[in-house]
């Protein structure tokens, strides 16, 4: 299978005081289209750092990270913004919705940035809200939503532009079991229908139950990379 993300000899060091802290060490990985994969490991093992580099929010110290043919280390600010805007979707532990805008407007924002024509935009927003089952909440404000609904809006906002890759950092950490399964179902469904690649950073067993590949990190190193037969599937 052709890979859309290649990571070769990636090392990431952060300056700490007078010295340096190595957060990622000699990582070599590749990901194909349509994967549903998670980085797992204890807190501080480097999951978020790795996700941020793949998402071009941060740059490698050494090594080469190529996303959809773009070398992350060599992108200008403008090019990396464009890559994120067109091809990458992010979901975070806290939903980070814009509090002053309605659900509809939150989802619409990404498309406004792309200057999509109004009619097309409207259809895309309504489609995205339907994927996450929040059509009837279109005009609510984030403060009026439950935690599960908030995270579903965040998924719709990230998915509305139909990115090739979704990066989800601890997406269930703030949700109860029922809501966690709800959003995981939603994401698994989108992965199946739209062939979007999903990469998770998590230490949540519920998430792991859906993953088809689990990469274990410890102290910034990959210690295990195994294909899984997911215990749970979309619709089940």
């Amino acid at each position: 299978m052709e890979s859309i993300i290649q990571i070769e000899k990636l090392t990431k060091r952060f300056p700490v005081g007078t010295g340096e802290f190595t957060a990622l060490k000699d990582i070599n990985l590749a990901f194909g289209k349509g994967e549903f994969t998670g980085f797992v490991g204890p807190s501080g093992s480097g999951k978020t750092t790795l996700l941020n580099i793949i998402g071009s929010l941060d740059t490698p110290t050494e090594g080469e990270v190529t996303v959809l043919g773009h070398s992350i280390a060599h992108l200008t600010h403008r090019q990396s913004a464009k890559l994120r805007n067109q091809h990458l979707g992010f979901i975070f532990q806290t939903y980070n919705l814009f509090p002053v805008y309605t659900v509809y407007e939150n989802v619409e924002f990404a498309l406004l940035l792309q200057q999509m024509p109004a009619a097309e935009r409207r259809k895309a927003v309504l489609d995205a809200l339907e994927w996450v089952g929040l059509t009837d909440k279109a005009h609510s404000r984030p403060a009026q939503l439950s935690g599960g609904e908030g995270q579903r809006v965040a998924i719709a906002r990230a998915m509305v532009k139909r990115p090739a890759i979704m990066l989800a950092d601890e997406p269930t950490a703030n949700l109860d079991s029922k809501n966690s399964h709800h959003i995981l179902q939603t994401m698994a469904q989108l992965n199946k229908e739209l062939k979007t690649t999903f990469l998770f950073a998590t230490h949540d067993e519920k998430v792991m139950a859906y993953l088809r590949r689990i990469i274990s990190l410890e102290d910034g190193r990959v210690v295990k990379d195994e294909a899984m037969t997911p215990q749970r599937q979309p619709g089940v």
């Binding site: 941020n52 403008r78 990396s80 805008y101 990404a110 406004l112 940035l113």
Partner: protein, 424 residues
Amino acid sequence: MIRFLFKGIIRDKNRSLLPVLVISIGVFLTVLGSCWFKGIFSDMIDVNANFSTGHVKIMSRAYADNAGQMPNDLALSEAGQLVEELQTAYPGLEWVQRIHFGGLLDVPDEAGETRGQGMATGWGIDFFSPGTQEPQRMNIPGSIVKGALPARPGEALISHEFAERFGIGIGDTVTLFGSTMYGGMAFANFTVAGAVRFGMRALDRGAIIIDITDAQAALDMADAAGEILGFFRDGRYDGARALQLKTDFNARYESETDEFAPLMLRLNDQNGLEDYLALSESISGIMIFIFVLAMSIVLWNTGLLGGLRRYNEFGIRLAMGEEKKHIYRTLIIESVLIGAIGSVVGTALGLAAALPLQEYGLSFGSAVQGGGIMMPEVFRTRVGPEAFYIGFIPGLVSMVLGNALSGIGIYRRRTAVLFKELSV
């Protein structure tokens, strides 16, 4: 996108309320202040023009050199002829003769003995020619406290304060003592037709106003006038036009050798008004500068606080692929929108305060006493066309400047650093 930002501003009171408040207040003060200063300056200029300097004034060179002493021995002779020439040569102005004189007013009792005496400043103005504007120009009808305008030669107006002090009633006789054009002693009796109060210290202490022909007769100034004043027919002083006129007139009439030859001066050239005119031109600019400076600093800080509050939002927007430059630009657009709202509110409030003050004015009583310059006691605002837009300059500039400064931090930092800081 702008519609989107506008919604954000309207809904997020934290983002808009404080800046709108700050801008509204600043703009309100700017609008009111500039109307206020404009009112004061233009009233002052009008008063000076109407009572003293004209828009232009012609005197003999010798008279001009000693104008403070009202030297009627140096008055223009054949003044009637000169006015006719002026009316032909410069029909855009109205030309009037005046005699300004000093003297002693004596108030006799029934027996003819002196009951009281006081120094008086006198004016001889044109009360009786058909279509004369002079009484209106000096706002005499509006200033009459009792009695009426002189209706025939031999009648006079005196200042109300003077009349009160000496118990002078309408129909009483006063005697004016002065000096003739030739240095002799002059005296003449006048019947008091009315008492006036102008609201200006210099005039209200002691003044007598008589018809110019009476003044000419009393002071032995046949066909002579101390001053010929010219007023633009639209009533507005125009410094550039006045300068043209002055250059032209003086080229025709002025004489090196004859100190009695007529000389024209502009309003600017008299009573030290040049400086005031210059100040009146620059005062709005000065005020705008001060308000821009003060409000920018305040808004810079509110912008910094507002920016901190929105770090999370900016972080998400970066992650969504918005460029830093674009985020910065939307901040500026937001500040333009907020600045515009504040400017509209502030301008409306400023006009709401300035318009009644234009109508009714505020009385400062005798607190203000001008030196050579005549100062009205009632200060009024003047709402010109610029009152409607002048507030937008500090309103918009300070908001945009304040936000541009506070946004620089976000703009300068590297994405990775920023994203970490933005604590998503």
